[in-house]
C-alpha cells in the first residue's frame, strides 16, 4: 500500500474483484456479497474523507520508457479526481447493495467482483492524461461490461457495436500518434491546430462516443440490456459505456471543437435520440425498455447541454446523474413489488397498495425539476435544452405513472395478490437515500420548478397521451428491430455478397480453375510430349538430335 489514496483504491478494488472470483459460488454468496459491499463502503468513506481534507498526492508510474515512446500511468490523488470518482462510487454501492438481496441474481459474487474491477478501470480513465491509458481503460471497461452482460442476445449485439466503437477510437488515436508521436492528451489541442485528416479523426471519435452512449442509430446495444436483470441493467447504464463515453468526450473536446460539423452531428444525434427515447418511454410495453429510454433521454440531453456551454464538465451534472440512478431504482422497486412484472400492459391500479412508492416518484420529479432548472442556463441554447428535458421527462413519467398506478388493473391475480406496500428495501431504499441526499442543503425553490411540478401533476391528472397505450398490444412494434434489419441490409448484406463474389470468382474460378488447372494441364502436356519423344522411333532420334544441335547453335552463336 502507498500513501496515495487513489492507488490504494485501485489496488483494493482490483483485489476485491479478484477475490470475489475465488470465493465459493453458491455457498454464503449473500454473506460474501455483504462483505464486498462493506469493503466498498469503507473505501468510499476513505475517499470522502480524502476529498474533504483536500489532500493531493502525486503518483506517476513510468510504464513504458523507450526512446520516442513514453507512457505513464498517472494516478495522482487530487480533488478533481476524487470528485469524479464519487458518483461512480455511489453507483457501485447502489448496485452492490441491490446485489446482496437480489432474487434474480444467480452469480452475485461474480457480479460484485466485476463491478469492483469495473470501477478500478474507470478510475484509470478518470485520472489518465494520455491516449494509450485512456484507450486501455475504455477497452478494459468494455471487457468487464461484456462479462457483466449475461444474456446471449444482448452480448451478441453489444460485442458488434463495441468492436466498432473501440476500433474507431483506436484508429483515431493511431492517426494522431502517427503525426505527432506523442501520447499525452495535450497533443489533441496541437492536433486540432496542425493535424491532418481532422474531419476523419473527429468523426471516428464521435462515432465511438455515440455508440458508447447508445444514442440514436446506435441505441440497439443499449436497449438490448432489457434482457438483463434490473440490477445489471442499472449498473451498466450508469457505470459502464455511457459513462466512459461522456468521460472521453470531456477529454477530447479540444479536438472535436475543431471539426466544423462536430456540433451539428452531436446536436442532430442528441435531438433524434431525445425524440426516439421519448417515443420509447411512451410506447414500449417493457418496463426495462422504458427505463433504458429514460436513461437514453438523459444522455441525449447531456450531449445537447454540452454544446451549449463553453467548457463542458461532467461534474456539473453529477446530481442529475444520481437522480437518474434513483429513478432507475424506483422503477426497479415498482417491478419488484409487482412480482417482477415487466409489462406496463399488465399493471394498472397499483396506487392502492403502492401509494408510498407513487409518492416517492412524485417527490423524485419535484427534486429533479428543482435540480435541473437550477442548472446554469445563462446561454439561450441551454435554456431551451433544459426546458425541453424537463418537459420530456414530465410527459414520459406522468404517462408511465398514470398507466401503472391508476385505471383498471390488468395484473393477473397472483401479481395483484402479492402486491406489496413496499418491496424489499434493496429496491427502493438506496434510491430514496439518493433523492434525499440530492435535496441537501435545501435550495431556494425556484418558480420555474414549481411551475414544472404543476405541469407534471396536470399531465398526471389529464393523461393526454392515453391513446398510445393501444400500441402495447402491437407485437410488430414492440418486437420489431428496425435498426438491426437496417444494418443487416445496409452493412452486412453488401459485405457478405462482396465476400461471396470474391471467394467464388477469384479463389475458385481464377486461381483454382484457371491458374492451377492450366499449370497442371501444361505439366501433363509436357510430360506427354516428353514421353512421346523418348519412344524408340527413328523420327524421335532425329528430333532429339536436332533439338540438341539447335541449343548448341543458340549458345555458341554460330
Amino acid at each position: 500500500m502507498t500513501n496515495n489514496m487513489l492507488v490504494n483504491l485501485f489496488i483494493l478494488l482490483s483485489l476485491t474483484g479478484g477475490a470475489a472470483f475465488f470465493l465459493p459460488k453458491d455457498k454464503y454468496s449473500r454473506f460474501f456479497s455483504l462483505l464486498v459491499f462493506a469493503g466498498a463502503v469503507s473505501y468510499g468513506w476513505l475517499i470522502w474523507q480524502a476529498y474533504l481534507s483536500g489532500s493531493s498526492e502525486p503518483f506517476v508510474f513510468h510504464w513504458i520508457q523507450y526512446k520516442s515512446l513514453h507512457i505513464d500511468i498517472n494516478l495522482s490523488a487530487n480533488q478533481r479526481n476524487y470528485l469524479y470518482l464519487m458518483p461512480l462510487g455511489i453507483v457501485l454501492l447502489f448496485s452492490l447493495f441491490c446485489n446482496i438481496f437480489s432474487r434474480q441474481e444467480i452469480r452475485r459474487l461474480r457480479l460484485g467482483g466485476l463491478m469492483c474491477v469495473n470501477l478500478a478501470f474507470l478510475l484509470l480513465l478518470i485520472c489518465t492524461n494520455n491516449l494509450i491509458i485512456l484507450m486501455i481503460s475504455a477497452f478494459l471497461t468494455s471487457i468487464t461490461t461484456l462479462y457483466i452482460i449475461n444474456d446471449y442476445e444482448s452480448k451478441k449485439t453489444y460485442i458488434v457495436y463495441d468492436l466498432i466503437s473501440d476500433m474507431a477510437l483506436f484508429t483515431a488515436f493511431a492517426i494522431i500518434y502517427s503525426q505527432f508521436h506523442q501520447v499525452e492528451l495535450s497533443v489533441l489541442t496541437k492536433y486540432a491546430r496542425e493535424g491532418e485528416h481532422i474531419p476523419l479523426v473527429a468523426s471516428l471519435i464521435l462515432l465511438s462516443l455515440l455508440i458508447k452512449n447508445g444514442l440514436f442509430l446506435f441505441h440497439n446495444q443499449l436497449l438490448s440490456f432489457r434482457d438483463l436483470n434490473f440490477n445489471r441493467l442499472v449498473f451498466l447504464s450508469f457505470s459502464s459505456l455511457p459513462v466512459v463515453g461522456i468521460l472521453i468526450y470531456e477529454k477530447v473536446m479540444p479536438l472535436l471543437s475543431a471539426f466544423e460539423y462536430g456540433r451539428l452531428v452531436i446536436a442532430v444525434t442528441a435531438g433524434l435520440s431525445a425524440v426516439y427515447a421519448l417515443g420509447g418511454t411512451l410506447i414500449y410495453d417493457d418496463i426495462k425498455e422504458k427505463t433504458l429510454c429514460f436513461n437514453m433521454l438523459f444522455w441525449a440531453f447531456l450531449y445537447a447541454l454540452a454544446l451549449t456551454v463553453p467548457h463542458f464538465s461532467f461534474s456539473a451534472y453529477f446530481s442529475l446523474f444520481l437522480l437518474m440512478l434513483a429513478l432507475n431504482g424506483l422503477i426497479h422497486a415498482l417491478s419488484a413489488a409487482a412480482s417482477d412484472e415487466i409489462y406496463v400492459s399488465k399493471t394498472g391500479g397499483f396506487f392502492k397498495n403502492l401509494w408510498l412508492l407513487f409518492l416517492f416518484f412524485v417527490l423524485w420529479f419535484a427534486i429533479f425539476a428543482q435540480n435541473t432548472l437550477s442548472l446554469d442556463y445563462s446561454q439561450a441554447g441551454a435554456r431551451v435544452v433544459i426546458v425541453l428535458f424537463v418537459s420530456f421527462m414530465a410527459l414520459a413519467l406522468a404517462h408511465f405513472l398514470r398507466e401503472v398506478f391508476f385505471g383498471a388493473t390488468q395484473a393477473d391475480e397472483i401479481v395483484s395478490a402479492r402486491l406489496k406496500a413496499l418491496p424489499y428495501a434493496d429496491c427502493w431504499l438506496p434510491a430514496v437515500l439518493i433523492c434525499g441526499w440530492s435535496v441537501f442543503p435545501f435550495p431556494e425553490v425556484s418558480r420555474t420548478a414549481v411551475m414544472a411540478f404543476a405541469v407534471f401533476l396536470l399531465l398526471l391528472a389529464i393523461h393526454p397521451l392515453r391513446r398510445l397505450s393501444r400500441y402495447y398490444a402491437d407485437e410488430e412494434l414492440q418486437l420489431a428491430e428496425f435498426f438491426k434489419r437496417f444494418y443487416e441490409l445496409v452493412v452486412l448484406t453488401p459485405i457478405t455478397v462482396l465476400g461471396r463474389i470474391l471467394w467464388l470468382t477469384i479463389d475458385f474460378v481464377i486461381i483454382e480453375r484457371t491458374i492451377i488447372n492450366s499449370l497442371s494441364d501444361m505439366i501433363k502436356f509436357l510430360i506427354k510430349v516428353s514421353q512421346k519423344i523418348h519412344q524408340p522411333a527413328l523420327i524421335n532420334y532425329i528430333l532429339l538430335a536436332l533439338c540438341g544441335l539447335g541449343i548448341l547453335f543458340l549458345y555458341t552463336g554460330r
Partner: protein, 477 residues
C-alpha cells in the same frame, strides 16, 4: 566461440536428436504412445530452457547479431556456415517453441500416426530453429527449403480427402520459390566466392539486370511462403483441410519464414531496383488482406476464419516491416510472441471443440454453453486475438498501425478495415459457439477441458497478460 559453448548449434541440434530418440522409442500398445509423446515434449521443454539461457546472454539493447558461431563446411568450394541471433529472432524462437508446446498438449490423446507426427514435428522444429539462427545465405537457403519436407509429409499424412490436390499446390508454389531463391543464392555465391553473410548482401554491387533479377527472385521466394495473392491459395487450402492442431500450427508457421526472410534480406535502405517491387508488394498485400478478411467474414468454417485472421496479421506485419523503423521491427517481433501463442491457443481450443463435436455428432451452435472452463479460455483468446488490452498485441498493433498510417494513410486505413473484418469473423464464430438459444442439453453436451488442461491454458493466459503489462520488456528500462 568457445565461451558460447556452441549454444546456438545445440539449440538447432537438440530437436533433431529428440527426433532420433522418438524414432527409437518403443511405441506399442503397452506404452500407448506415451514414450513418443514424453520424449517429444521433453525435447521442446529442454530447448526452451536453452533458449532462456541464450536470452540471459543477449544484450537486449543491441540490434546486432550476437553469440555468433562460424563453421567451415567445405574448403573447396569454400562454404562457411554462420549462426547468430538477435533479439528479434530470439523472441520468435521462444514463441515458436511455446506454440509447439501448446500443439503437443493439444494432440496428447491423438494416437493416429503419432510417431510420424512427432518425428516430422521435431524435424521441422529443428529446421525452423536453424533457419531463424542462420546468418549466412547458404545455411539460410538450406534450412529455408529443408523445412518444407516435414511439412509436405505432415500434410500428406494428416490432410483430408483432398490432400493430393493440396500437396500438389503446396509443391507447385514452394517449388517455384525454391528455384528462384536457389538461383539468387548461386548469384550471391558467385559474386562473393564464399560465405555471404545475409547482412552484407546489400553491400554487394551487381550490374543492373542481375540486381533486378536477384531482388525479384528473393521477393518471389519469400512471397510464395506468405499468404499474399496469388500465393495465398495453397495455405488457404491446407489450413481448411488440416484438422490436426499441431500440424495446423506448423503449417501456419510457414508464412512466418517468408516474413522473416524479408526482414533479414530487406535492408534499412532499399536498393533502387527493389523500390518498384516494394510498392507493388504493398498494394498486393493490402488488397489480399481485405480480400481474405472478407472471405473469412462470410465463411462458416472455423479453420478458414483462423486462416483469414492469421493472414491479415501476417500481411500487416509484413507491411509494418516495410516501414524500415527499428521500433516497429522490434514491435513486430514482440507482437509475434503473443500472436503465435494466441494462434496456437485458439487452434488448441477449437480443435478440442471440433473433436468433441464430431464425436457426439452435434452442430456448432451453443457448444460452449455447458463448458465454463473452455468458454473462458476460448473467449479470452479471442479477445486477445482481436487486440484488446489483454496481451502485448494491443500496444504492438497500435504502434504498427500508426507507422503504416504515417507512411501511407490510405494503406493504414485499409489495414484497419481488414483487422475489423477479421476480428468480426472471430467474434462471430465465438458467439455462434456460445449461442444459448440453440443449446439443447437433450442432444448431448461436450465435455469441458480437464483441470490440468485448464491450468495449462491459464498459464498461457498469464503469459499473455504478462506480455501486456510489460510489452517491451526486452528493451529494458
Amino acid at each position: 566461440m568457445s565461451s558460447n559453448l556452441y549454444l546456438l548449434s545445440v539449440i538447432i541440434v537438440l530437436p533433431f536428436l529428440g527426433m532420433l530418440f522418438v524414432l527409437a522409442a518403443k511405441n506399442d500398445e503397452k506404452t500407448g504412445g506415451r514414450n513418443v509423446y514424453n520424449v517429444s515434449l521433453f525435447t521442446v521443454i529442454a530447448n526452451i530452457v536453452l533458449i532462456l539461457r541464450m536470452f540471459s546472454r543477449l544484450d537486449v539493447k543491441s540490434s546486432a547479431l550476437q553469440l555468433v558461431e562460424r563453421f567451415t563446411w567445405l574448403e573447396n568450394p569454400r562454404i562457411d556456415i554462420v549462426l547468430g541471433v538477435d533479439v528479434f529472432s530470439a523472441l520468435l524462437l521462444l514463441s515458436i517453441h511455446l506454440a509447439f508446446i501448446i500443439g503437443f498438449i493439444a494432440v496428447r490423446h491423438n494416437r493416429i500416426q503419432q510417431k510420424s507426427m512427432m518425428v516430422f514435428a521435431l524435424l521441422f522444429l529443428s529446421q525452423i530453429t536453424g533457419f531463424l539462427l542462420a546468418a549466412d545465405v547458404f545455411s539460410f537457403y538450406i534450412f529455408f527449403e529443408a523445412m518444407l519436407f516435414p511439412v509436405f509429409m505432415l500434410i500428406g499424412i494428416f490432410g483430408d480427402i483432398r490432400r493430393q490436390g493440396i500437396m500438389y499446390r503446396f509443391f507447385l508454389y514452394n517449388f517455384l520459390g525454391a528455384v528462384v531463391l536457389f538461383l539468387a543464392t548461386i548469384i550471391l555465391y558467385n559474386y562473393q566466392n564464399g560465405a555471404v553473410e545475409i547482412s552484407k548482401v546489400t553491400q554487394l554491387s551487381f550490374n543492373g539486370r542481375t540486381e533486378h533479377f536477384m531482388w525479384a527472385s528473393i521477393l518471389i521466394s519469400f512471397l510464395s511462403r506468405i499468404p499474399i495473392w496469388p500465393f495465398h491459395f495453397w495455405i488457404a487450402s491446407v489450413s481448411s483441410s488440416i484438422k490436426n492442431p499441431l500440424v495446423f500450427i506448423i503449417v501456419n508457421l510457414i508464412p512466418l519464414t517468408g516474413i522473416y526472410g524479408l526482414i533479414r534480406f530487406l535492408p534499412q535502405t532499399f536498393p533502387v531496383s527493389a523500390a518498384f517491387y516494394i510498392t507493388a508488394l504493398e498494394i498486393i498485400g493490402v488488397v489480399t488482406m481485405l480480400f481474405i478478411a472478407l472471405i473469412g467474414f462470410i465463411n462458416r468454417d472455423t479453420q478458414y476464419k483462423f486462416f483469414s485472421y492469421i493472414t491479415v496479421y501476417y500481411i500487416m506485419y509484413m507491411l509494418g516491416l516495410l516501414s524500415k523503423n527499428t521500433l516497429i521491427m522490434l514491435n513486430v517481433g514482440f507482437s509475434f510472441f503473443s500472436y503465435l501463442i494466441i494462434v496456437a491457443g485458439l487452434e488448441f481450443v477449437s480443435s478440442y471443440v471440433r473433436s468433441q463435436q464430431e464425436k457426439l455428432e452435434l452442430g456448432t451452435e451453443g457448444l460452449l454453453c455447458p463448458v465454463p472452463r473452455l468458454a473462458f479460455v476460448y473467449s479470452f483468446l479471442v479477445l486477445a486475438a482481436i487486440g484488446l488490452p489483454v496481451s502485448s498485441l494491443f500496444l504492438n498493433n497500435f504502434l504498427i498501425i500508426s507507422s503504416l498510417l504515417e507512411n501511407s494513410f490510405n494503406l493504414g486505413i485499409t489495414v484497419v478495415c481488414a483487422l475489423v473484418l477479421s476480428s468480426g469473423a472471430l467474434l462471430g464464430d465465438l458467439y455462434r459457439l456460445k449461442d444459448s438459444s440453440a443449446f439443447c442439453p437433450e442432444k448431448g453436451c461436450i465435455t469441458d477441458i480437464s483441470k490440468p488442461y485448464f491450468f495449462f491454458m491459464t498459464f498461457i493466459i498469464f503469459v499473455l497478460i504478462a506480455s501486456f503489462i510489460r510489452p517491451l520488456w526486452f528493451l529494458g528500462r
